[in-house]
């Protein structure tokens, strides 16, 4: 993750990266300090009762750590973590901006600086050291500053004892901190003590590392602070290196068990001993006349001898200014004070974090983000990035491409709101009409008889029985079935049914992305098609009852994809047999809204739209690939299935569209592949068609919703009047196509007013300049008329 200072461009195992990781390896730099769990002077330093050791440093601000420990894979080292993140492309790209700076900041020092081993430090200590003895001659302010540096340096854990630290400082050497030690923890500790904001017993859990990773030390506590949990005892022993700093401060020369300071370093501890009481007993804010004093952190009692915060990377810069204050005049001394204050203000705390510190912080964070399960925890981002990537489809990972293919996600896209199902239906009907026309021209069977009474060229060449025309019954009477009312509890039940389905779909999708075996049994059971629930008016399966809920519609395509062929057919049959029990179908009928000026409520309209884009799209695709017998069974279920009222269905857009699709599909097969059809098939279709026709005969005009009607006797105008009526003409076209001349005659006769009304509207539109609107009306009308070899203009109907 470039965000954390790693180079996102290289492959995870590139040489540079490995090198970097090596420098971060805790085991290499740690030098086994933590194994010395015996500290003879621990009791002396902190009191005998180790239970008193406080654990009340709360670096999380009293909050629970934001990341749950269990989300961190314990087997994942930080090094691995950094690599894992390379795999997660979205995460890597996220932080690109910081990548360069962080990288250059962290990688260079890592290679230049090296961590001193204990032996090396010791060797240095044994060399005579010239600068250190000067320390006592520093003025008090300088001394204080030096002390801060010293303590900070030791607190950072780099130096085994104050002598080493002081010496290193005096040399201007500032080695990188050892991983595993937070250099500024003591500051926080002090600050928090001062504020009295001591979180009881809270461990900084978020920095608890994996076993093989880094150890973040608990900040040692002084006995006076709050009692600590017993567990602190153990932790304290593990944290030897960190403890050494304060211990060393209190009695520097002898205390350091880890690395006994050699005698040659004596001057340094002495200096510490001499001066510590001065700075510790008097709060340095008062001891220091500096106007902008350091924010004082903790009394000397509470913190041991920690001086105020801050250390300086460049202590030597001050050295040239160092003079013996006693040799100066009062004026010079003041001047010196001012200058030193100014200098110290500038350099105070600067370089507070060296690049390794920064790395440490980022690595701690990284460990919290890293997961062995990115697709559960980062699912949204992973998929979103791919779905919305501007990169071409080729570049899409297979994961998201499959996800995209099956889900309806893109359906919601603003610019893609095309009514897919209806478009397809239109194409199918047009095709069927064209094919019929061509065949008619070839065979000369095209009926040119005077359906409108205008053209009368003789009778049809295929004699069929004359249908008995049922002219009784008012054309506007449509029986509205009772609305299904579910109880509240069953609403909850419905939602749980949907969520069960989603769970199964998500599982199957995951399996599919991983190219594993899938079994649709659980999904099929989740559909509960064999279950029944009773509504106020009927008994339906739960799936039918939930199919009108938005999220069930949205998942339909995705679930359908996973069903096996038999299951698909069973599901389709269940839907067709129960069409009018589907809420969204039923409520789409204008007959429900006689008292509202036939205005279908907005919520219903959007549901219908959603149904068309989701469920119906899937149904249409399936039907367009089904064979004749299968489609015939579907039509039979609609027409003869006990649950359906065909007349009512024909007043709904969804119902009418579905019938259109089925009928036109049958006709298309019949015309294009007639050789493959048996006489029985055709006879069966004829029977079913007769059923269908009889159900509608005499009320065909009612398929025009009044608001779309152009029949002066029926028409009503509302907000929907401008909407597309082509689906009605498509239905009429396919109905005529499948019917005989006699059927066609009846159809034309029943909707004669609509035909002429539509022509009138077209004429009016043309006169008002709306040529496009006029043309649209005519082309819709002609789709139907072409079936019978006729063609309408604004004022006339002629033969094709």
């Amino acid at each position: 993750m470039s965000f954390f200072g790693f180079d996102p461009s290289g492959p995870p195992s590139s040489g540079e990266k490995d090198q970097k990781l090596d420098t971060l390896d805790f085991e290499e730099t740690y030098e086994g300090l933590g194994e010395q769990d015996e500290d003879a002077f621990n009791d002396e330093t902190f009191g005998a009762d180790v239970k008193e050791i406080g654990s009340n440093f709360d670096f999380t601000g009293g909050l629970k750590p934001a990341s749950k420990p269990q989300t961190v894979n314990p087997n994942l080292s930080y090094a691995k973590a950094a690599q894992v993140d390379q795999v997660i492309a979205p995460m890597a790209s996220l932080w690109n901006e910081e990548a360069k700076t962080a990288d250059s900041a962290s990688s260079q020092p890592a290679s230049e600086q090296r961590v001193l081993s204990l032996e090396e430090i010791e060797a240095k200590l044994r060399q005579p050291q010239q600068q250190v003895p000067q320390m006592p001659q520093m003025n008090p302010y300088m001394y204080q500053q030096q002390q801060q540096l010293l303590v900070a340096a030791m607190a950072s854990g780099q130096f085994p004892n104050p002598a080493a630290a002081a010496q290193a400082l005096a040399q201007g050497y500032f080695p990188p901190f050892q991983p595993g030690v937070m250099p500024f923890m003591p500051f926080q500790a002090q600050q928090m003590m001062q504020q009295g904001a001591l979180g009881q017993g809270q461990q900084p859990q978020q920095v608890q590392p994996p076993p093989a990773g880094l150890q973040v030390p608990q900040v040692p506590q002084v006995p006076q602070s709050a009692p600590a949990p017993v567990q602190q005892q153990q932790q304290q022993q593990q944290q030897q290196p960190a403890l050494q700093a304060p211990q060393a401060l209190q009695s520097p020369p002898v205390l350091n068990a880890a690395s006994p300071p050699p005698h040659s370093s004596q001057p340094v501890p002495q200096a510490v001993e001499q001066k510590v009481p001065a700075s510790a007993s008097a709060p340095s804010s008062s001891a220091t006349p500096a106007p902008q004093s350091v924010q004082q952190v903790g009394s000397s009692d509470a913190t041991g001898n920690f001086p105020p915060l801050g250390y300086d990377e460049k202590p030597r810069k001050q050295r040239p200014q160092r003079q013996n204050p006693e040799n100066l005049t009062q004026e010079e001394r003041e001047k010196l004070w001012r200058r030193q204050n100014k200098v110290s203000a500038i350099i105070r705390c600067s370089g507070f974090m060296n690049p390794r510190d920064k790395d440490f912080v980022t690595r701690v964070q990284l460990s919290q983000i890293v997961t062995d399960d990115p697709y559960n925890e980062d699912f949204y981002c992973q998929v979103y990035r791919v779905l919305n990537s501007s990169v071409g489809e080729d570049d899409m990972s297979s994961i998201a491409q499959k996800y995209l293919d099956q889900s309806g996600h893109r359906l919601g896209g603003r610019e893609k709101r095309a009514d897919v199902a209806l478009q397809r239906m239109q194409q199918q009907v047009s095709k069927a009409v064209t094919v019929a026309k061509e065949r008619g021209e070839r065979t000369g069977v095209l009926a040119k008889e005077g359906a409108l009474g205008k053209v009368s060229v003789g009778s049809g060449k295929q004699p069929r029985k004359q249908l008995v025309i049922n002219t009784t019954g008012s054309s506007d009477e449509v029986v509205v079935p009772k609305e299904n009312v579910y109880s509240k509890s069953s609403r909850a039940f419905q939602l749980s049914v949907i969520e069960d389905i989603y769970s199964q779909v998500l599982k199957l999708e995951s399996l599919e992305r991983e190219n594993q075996e899938r079994d649709s049994k659980d999904l099929w059971n989740a559909l509960r098609l064999n279950d029944t629930i009773e509504t106020s008016s009927t008994v339906v399966s739960p799936f039918i009852s939930v199919l009108s809920i938005d999220k069930a519609m949205k998942v339909f395509n995705r679930l359908f994809h996973f069903l096996n062929p038999e299951q698909k057919i069973k599901l389709m049959e269940a839907i067709f047999a129960n069409l009018h029990n589907i809420d969204v179908v039923m409520k789409g009928s204008y007959a429900n809204y006689v008292n509202e000026n036939y205005e279908i409520p907005k919520t219903e309209k959007s549901k219908i739209e959603l149904f068309q884009m989701t469920v119906m799209k899937t149904l249409v695709l399936f039907v367009s690939e089904s064979d004749f017998q299968q489609v015939l069974r579907f039509v039979a279920l609609i027409v003869k299935g006990g649950n359906n009222n065909v007349l009512f269905l024909s007043t709904t857009k969804i119902g009418l569209s579905l019938i259109t699709i089925l009928v036109s599909r049958l006709e298309l097969i019949k015309q294009e592949f007639s050789a493959g059809l048996s006489p029985q098939d055709l006879a069966q279709w004829q029977t079913i068609y007769d059923h269908l026709f009889q159900a509608l005969e005499g009320r065909l005009a009612t398929i025009f919703p009044p608001y779309l009607s152009n029949d002066d006797a029926r028409k009503v105008r509302n907000s929907e009047s401008k909407s597309d009526d082509s689906y009605i003409w498509q239905f009429l076209a396919s109905l005529s196509l499948a019917g005989l001349l006699s059927h066609q005659r009846i159809i034309v006769d029943e909707i004669r007013n609509e035909i002429f009304g539509s022509m009138g509207v077209s004429k009016a539109l043309k006169e008002s300049g709306d040529l496009q609107g006029a043309e649209k009306h005519l082309s819709n009308l002609n789709l139907f008329l072409n079936v019978m070899g006729l063609k309408a203009s604004e004022s006339d109907i002629t033969e094709l």
Binding site: T101, A102, P291, V297
Partner: protein, 98 residues
């Protein structure tokens, strides 16, 4: 949090949860966004009186008290005449929605 990294050694404005404004150089931070400022001062705006700056020195601010850490554009800052700028005391973050 490591977003703060890019602000290191830069002059920043820090708004705390009690509505105060601190300005200083960001010296360090940790994963709970505790921060250390050097050369810091507090700036106090008033609707009527001139803006006041209180020298503070080095400051450690607890992460949970931090609302905003914003990087200061020195040029724009130096062009601003704070004596003529008036403003209201920021609200603290404890005020529940009315």
């Amino acid at each position: 949090m490591s977003a703060l990294k890019s602000f290191l050694d830069e002059k920043v404005k820090v708004v705390t949860s009690d509505g105060r404004l601190f300005i200083g150089v960001l010296e360090g931070f940790d994963q709970s966004s505790n921060i250390v400022l050097s050369k810091s001062f507090e700036r106090i705006f008033s609707p009527t009186e001139p803006t006041k700056d209180l020298e503070l020195g080095s400051y450690l601010i607890r992460g949970e008290q931090i609302v905003i850490v914003g990087m200061l554009d020195d040029e724009e800052e130096s062009q601003t005449d704070y004596d003529k700028i008036h403003g209201f005391q920021l609200k603290d973050t404890k005020n529940a929605l009315r």
